[in-house]
């Protein structure tokens, strides 16, 4: 039976020739990834070159690890690395805790109308562009007399000069992040809670468990795999400062750089303002490699603890 040998190259070619449309359909999508994802990977070699626009990628001179040295020994390196990691850790912890709490609370309430309306409203900030959010932040904290200060003064507090106080911004950004993302994340958790078998709840109720006990002993533990997958996904991006968010909110306010400048905003600035393509690429490469290593480590750790919680 010649047809049984399914793995042969000849068989594959025959299959492809027989279903041209099935493979042809994938072509535009594959081309997209080739051009916009794989060509840039080829461009990584810029990190090892003294990039010159007129000479192009292949024509520019090799400089070994000079770009990396330059970056690793600069004072900025430790600051932006610390900011990137610190902000991401704050974002991940607070958004996850808030989202889990919201999902658990939604699971407890009975009123359908309240549930529907409240869900729609907390999901809304997720649909806004960071520019719109940046505008909101600017309107409430910026300007000569920030509205938030009027409120503070009415309550008897001292006004704060928000746009100068860099020490406050990790927390301000965390609040914004929770505001924007917790509702969205809670919907994913709520979907996971809906999947929990009703029998478990029934049994617990017969045993006389209180609502609080049911939540802590059944719902929360069964939610852990979903929580860990979502956290893993964010850990993979821990070296990517959220450029869209931070640049839209902080912009070019250099007074706030000490606590808010992250790898992505640093790369963007060195590219647009200093035209230092070599070093910017070196930083970008460092970021990609560290991100990849982090995903693999985090995944391995999760896999050890619980197989079903791992990503791959």
């Amino acid at each position: 039976m010649p047809n049984v040998r399914k793995r042969g190259a000849g068989y594959k070619l025959q299959q492809i020739a027989r279903n041209p449309f099935l493979y042809g359909m994938a072509v535009p999508g594959l081309l997209f990834f080739l051009i916009f994802s794989y060509f840039p990977i080829y461009g990584i070699m810029i990190a090892f070159k003294d990039y010159d626009f007129s000479k192009g990628i292949t024509g520019s001179e090799w400089v070994g690890f000079r770009n990396f040295n330059y970056f690793f020994t600069s004072d900025d390196f430790w600051i932006i690395l610390r900011n990137t990691l610190l902000l991401n850790v704050l974002f991940i912890i607070f958004t996850t805790v808030a989202a889990v709490l919201i999902a658990l609370m939604f699971n407890e309430i009975r009123s359908k109308y309240f549930k529907r309306i409240s869900q729609s409203l907390i999901f809304l900030p997720y649909f806004m562009s960071w520019i719109v959010i940046g505008m909101l932040v600017q309107s409430f904290l910026g300007g000569e007399a920030p509205p938030v200060n009027t409120l503070l003064q009415n309550l008897g507090f001292e006004p704060v000069n928000w746009m100068f106080e860099s020490s406050l911004w990790p927390w301000i950004l965390t609040v914004i992040r929770v505001w924007q993302g917790a509702g969205y994340l809670s919907i994913i958790f709520l979907a996971a809670i809906t999947g929990i078998s009703e029998d478990l709840y029934e049994a617990a109720r017969i045993d006389g468990a209180s609502k609080l006990q049911i939540m802590l002993r059944i719902t929360l533990p069964l939610l852990v795999p979903t929580i860990s997958i979502m956290t893993l996904l964010s850990v993979g991006k821990i070296f990517n400062g959220d450029f869209a968010m931070i640049y839209a909110i902080i912009g070019d306010n250099s007074l706030l750089y000490p606590t808010t400048d992250v790898i992505d905003t640093f790369v963007f600035r060195s590219m647009r303002q200093l035209h230092d393509f070599g070093m910017s690429s070196a930083v970008g490469l460092f970021q990609s490699v560290m991100g990849l290593i982090f995903v693999i480590i985090a995944n391995a750790v999760t896999r050890k603890m619980s197989k079903e919680s791992a990503l791959f």
Binding site: Y38, M128, S129, W130, P147, V267, M271, S280, G284
Partner: protein, 292 residues
């Protein structure tokens, strides 16, 4: 079933927490919308309040004269419509091919599409590819092409197509339908819910994107709405410049109000469509949350 006192207390706490968080989420929008209708002098003296003493539509009246805003709307609508339709088409075809069991190249294809989620070249090489190799800077294509395929959304489509029973396809093929007919006449019609939610996600990406504009567009004629708004975030004067000085408005341009009103107009379409679209988004997300 009877509720104990502690259970009732617990429910009360649940309602209270959700109520507080809901108000926290919606309050900035309320203040902004009301702010855009508040008289400029009151905005400056009292800041944003939920119950302003003097209403005014001066900001919106001023914006009626802004050609830049009309232009921005035009650009944003074009990229959203063209981008979403093209993106949906490309992604659905790719996902169908990736999900099909008869595809002997399934594994390499999947790897090829998912690897970019884990490892990228970074923005510098990306910038060089788009501007130096493809020469897309200052064309509308720079706003459309780089966003055509989102791995996460392709992934949502693949998980959906995997759930379509194989027998359906086989039956059609036995009846003599070719691959193209199977896809367009059998698969697509039954995939409407997922196509709707993925399409909405793409539309949102296009409507809200400003990064491509920031990187590749210098020509103000090609500025999408988000970029016009970004200018006003970084520069107070930009709000005034939005209104041509020749425009026949008697009073001074209300700067704060114009900023608020532009923001409202930018998010307007989302807010208006939102009640209808929200259930699709939830459906799309739920599909994606199930591990594939």
């Amino acid at each position: 079933m009877k509720q104990t006192l502690s259970d009732r207390l617990f429910s009360f706490v649940a309602y209270a927490i959700l109520m507080v968080f809901t108000i926290f989420c919606i309050l900035p929008f309320l203040l902004m919308v009301i702010g855009s209708f508040t008289d400029e002098s009151e905005l400056i003296v009292n800041g944003y309040t939920l119950f302003p003493k003097a209403f005014s539509v001066a900001a919106y009246k001023a914006l009626l004269h802004s050609d830049a805003l009309y232009n921005g709307y035009g650009i944003t609508i074009i990229i959203t419509v063209v981008g979403t339709l093209t993106a949906l088409c490309i992604s659905a075809m790719l996902a169908y091919s990736l999900a099909n069991k008869r595809n002997v190249l399934q594994t390499p294809f999947l790897l090829f599409c998912y690897l970019p989620m884990l490892f990228t070249g970074g923005i510098i090489p990306f910038y060089i590819v788009v501007s130096q190799w493809l020469h897309l800077q200052n064309t509308i294509w720079a706003l459309i092409l780089p966003l055509l395929c989102q791995p996460f959304l392709v992934f949502l489509l693949v998980s959906f197509f995997r759930t379509v029973p194989e027998e359906l396809e086989e039956a059609a093929r036995i009846d003599g339908a070719n691959e193209m007919r199977v896809f367009f006449q059998i698969i697509l019609p039954i995939s409407k819910p997922i196509l709707a939610s993925v399409g909405l996600f793409y539309a949102l990406y296009y409507w809200n994107d400003w990064f491509m504009g920031l990187m590749f567009i210098d020509n103000e004629k090609l500025f999408p709405l988000q970029l016009i708004l970004r200018r006003m975030v970084s520069n107070m004067e930009a709000a005034k410049n939005l209104i041509p000085s020749s425009a026949a408005i008697s009073t001074v341009v209300p700067t704060y109000g114009v900023r608020m009103a532009t923001t409202v107009l930018t998010i307007g379409p989302i807010i208006l469509l939102y009640p209808m679209l929200q259930k699709y988004f939830v459906k799309g997300l739920t599909v994606g949350a199930v591990k594939g």
